[in-house]
């Protein structure tokens, strides 16, 4: 059994050479919660829909659960909650789940138990026999989530799964994702709500204008921008004027009773002892050192800006 549930090689889905996603090469480890981050229109949903065989790739290849995408086998153990969740509104919640359960090949007796369980899991118990027509957006998203979980999938694609939910619903979904991960399932989470992703994802991929900028364990990715917060006393103007070359940025965060808290951005994490030594040598009293953890938003912005910078340079070269 492969360690990856998804592997893609230069996978592209373009519409007349534009938009969509382009040359995506990534691996999603089994049992991870993989956050696919990108702005609106970055190509996140296009990628997911291509993986599920709803769109035909224009280039590249991909394997899902060991089978080439587009094949029936690749979708056997997959659950999907689409971003644009629309279900036949003339069905009741239970009827919808019954039809899906039948398509998943569940027997009549299994269906009853499984439907009861998933309805309970997504917080729809007691409302499942009402017509979808009368459901709020949030309830429709919950019943969609129940649909995605029906087949006890190994891989679950959740495309903006909390877009229609209230804060309590969002918390419940986050808890559900964590529970599914604990059961060994892989979650592919598409979202642009970075704060939400941060609390549940262990791996991320950042997509920008259809291209994958970076992917990997998100805590490792956050190390690309080593920052420390230093609370100092007696920082001379001389020190401020001659900051070491490995300090790429230095910002005053706050001042309080003669102490100043600074945020230092370094070119690499290993420079921290050297910086501290230099500061002490220059006569600064170091009161507090805090290694700053990057938020997912900061990581995302860092990589997107890097990509934009590269694109700008390439653009200029082309003009020259």
């Amino acid at each position: 059994m492969s360690d990856f549930v998804i592997e893609t090689w230069e996978l592209s889905k373009q519409y007349g050479g534009k938009a969509g996603c382009k040359n995506i090469t990534l691996q999603v480890p089994r049992g991870s919660v993989f956050g696919f981050l990108g702005q609106n229109g970055a190509g996140k949903s296009t990628f997911v829909r291509t993986m599920l065989g709803l769109l035909h790739p224009t280039n590249g290849k991909a394997v899902m659960l060991g089978h080439p995408i587009g094949s029936v086998e690749s979708r056997k153990k997959v659950g999907y909650l689409p971003e644009l969740f629309r279900y036949p509104d003339w069905l009741t919640g239970t009827q919808l789940l019954e039809h899906h359960a039948e398509l998943c090949g569940l027997s009549r007796s299994e269906r009853k138990t499984v439907i009861r369980d998933v309805v309970e899991l997504v917080g729809m118990a007691g409302r499942e026999n009402e017509r979808i027509r009368g459901f709020s957006k949030g309830m429709q998203q919950r019943i969609g989530l129940a649909c995605a979980l029906l087949s006890d999938p190994e891989l679950i694609f959740l495309d903006e799964p909390t877009s229609a939910l209230d804060p309590i619903g969002r918390k419940e979904v986050r808890e559900l994702i964590a529970r599914l991960r604990d059961q060994g399932k892989t979650i592919f989470l598409n979202s642009h709500l970075l704060s939400e992703m941060e609390s549940v994802c262990d791996h991320v991929g950042i997509i920008h204008r259809g291209e994958l900028v970076v992917h990997g364990e998100w805590r490792k990715l956050s190390a690309v921008l080593p920052q420390i917060e230093l609370t100092l006393e007696q920082v001379s103007d001389k020190l401020q004027a001659s900051v070491p070359s490995y300090v790429t940025d230095m910002r005053l965060l706050r001042q309080n009773e003669g102490q100043a808290t600074w945020l230092f951005t370094l070119d690499e994490e290993g420079r921290v002892p050297a910086l501290l030594a230099e500061l002490i040598a220059a006569g600064a009293a170091v009161h507090e050192v805090i290694k700053k953890q990057q938020s997912l938003e900061e990581v995302f912005l860092y990589w997107v800006q890097q990509k934009e910078g590269e694109a700008h340079v390439a653009d200029r070269k082309n003009h020259v």
Binding site: R75, V78, P82, R86, P88, H99, H100, E102, S151
Partner: protein, 286 residues
């Protein structure tokens, strides 16, 4: 595939168009029954010789021919309206996404839709045919009842129910290729060409005008549903290439009978449309 057939049934029954069609069909059958009852009472009171018998025969076949034509028209409309959006509207609304994201081959999805729609329309058109013939036989009584054998009824019914099935095949092809509105317009125009072409061909045969007959043949090749109705009436009234049939059945009867080759062409047309629909649907992005 069976779950898709089931959901197609459910969808069709839940649609307002289906309920309206059923109600209007009942209203039409009641009207047809009342007209037949009055006509048979009127005819029953008439006295006369062979002229009168001939008149009764003409009147009964014309009335039933008219009823069957309108019945086939309603069936065609139901077939078009219920099937033309069956793929396209689900793609447009993204309802199809969660179905196709399952381990379900696309051809099974499409064939499931076909199975559901076609079987439902076969039931509907059989009931419509049985209703019209039943009224003719029992309400028309000994005066207006058309003399038909069981074999004739089944043969006629076969062609009658085949028409909506062919329509569903073409409708699914259009639904796989284009939007609901575009597909609906194209199909209604094709159906219109077919039935206008059918009338033109019958008139051409009566007056011996080969140009009119050729127009009819071309329109039948373009969309062969009218030829199925003509074959249905030929089977029921036992008339083929009979100039008298126009006099006895009027414009809804058949003076120019479609050939066996035309019937084979019609079958091929339907099968080809369905296979093409599968192929197009498998290749398209949803």
């Amino acid at each position: 595939m069976w779950p898709i057939v089931k959901i197609t049934y459910r969808e069709m029954i839940s649609k307002r168009i289906f309920a309206i069609t059923i109600l209007m069909s009942i209203a039409f059958l009641i009207l047809f029954g009342v007209a037949t009852w009055y006509a048979s009472r009127e005819m029953g009171e008439m006295t006369g010789g062979s002229d009168m018998l001939l008149q009764q025969g003409f009147f009964s076949t014309q009335l039933l021919g008219m009823g069957l034509y309108f019945g086939s028209f309603i069936t065609a409309l139901l077939a078009i309206l219920s099937s033309v959006g069956s793929i396209a509207s689900e793609v447009e609304s993204h309802q199809i996404d969660t179905w196709l994201a399952r381990a379900l081959p696309r051809h099974k999805y499409l064939l499931g839709k076909f199975g559901g729609l076609a079987s439902m329309l076969i039931i509907y058109s059989t009931l419509m045919f049985a209703g019209l013939l039943g009224i003719n036989q029992w309400v028309g009584g000994g005066v207006l009842a058309v003399d038909v054998s069981v074999g004739q009824i089944f043969s006629s019914l076969f062609y009658f129910v085949l028409m909506p099935v062919i329509l569903v095949c073409v409708s699914l092809l259009l639904s796989s290729m284009t939007t609901t509105v575009t597909g609906g317009i194209i199909l209604i125009i094709l159906y219109g060409i077919s039935f206008i072409g059918g009338f033109i061909e019958q008139l051409g045969t009566i007056i011996g005008n080969s140009s009119l007959m050729n127009i009819g043949i071309i329109s039948s090749l373009l969309f062969p549903t009218d030829s199925l109705f003509r074959q249905s009436t030929i089977a029921l009234f036992d008339t083929a290439d009979d100039p008298i049939s126009f006099a006895s059945q009027g414009i809804f009867g058949t003076a120019s009978a479609p050939s066996t080759a035309m019937f084979i062409y019609t079958l091929f047309y339907g099968v080809a449309a369905l296979l093409l629909a599968v192929r197009v649907f498998q290749k398209r992005d949803v």
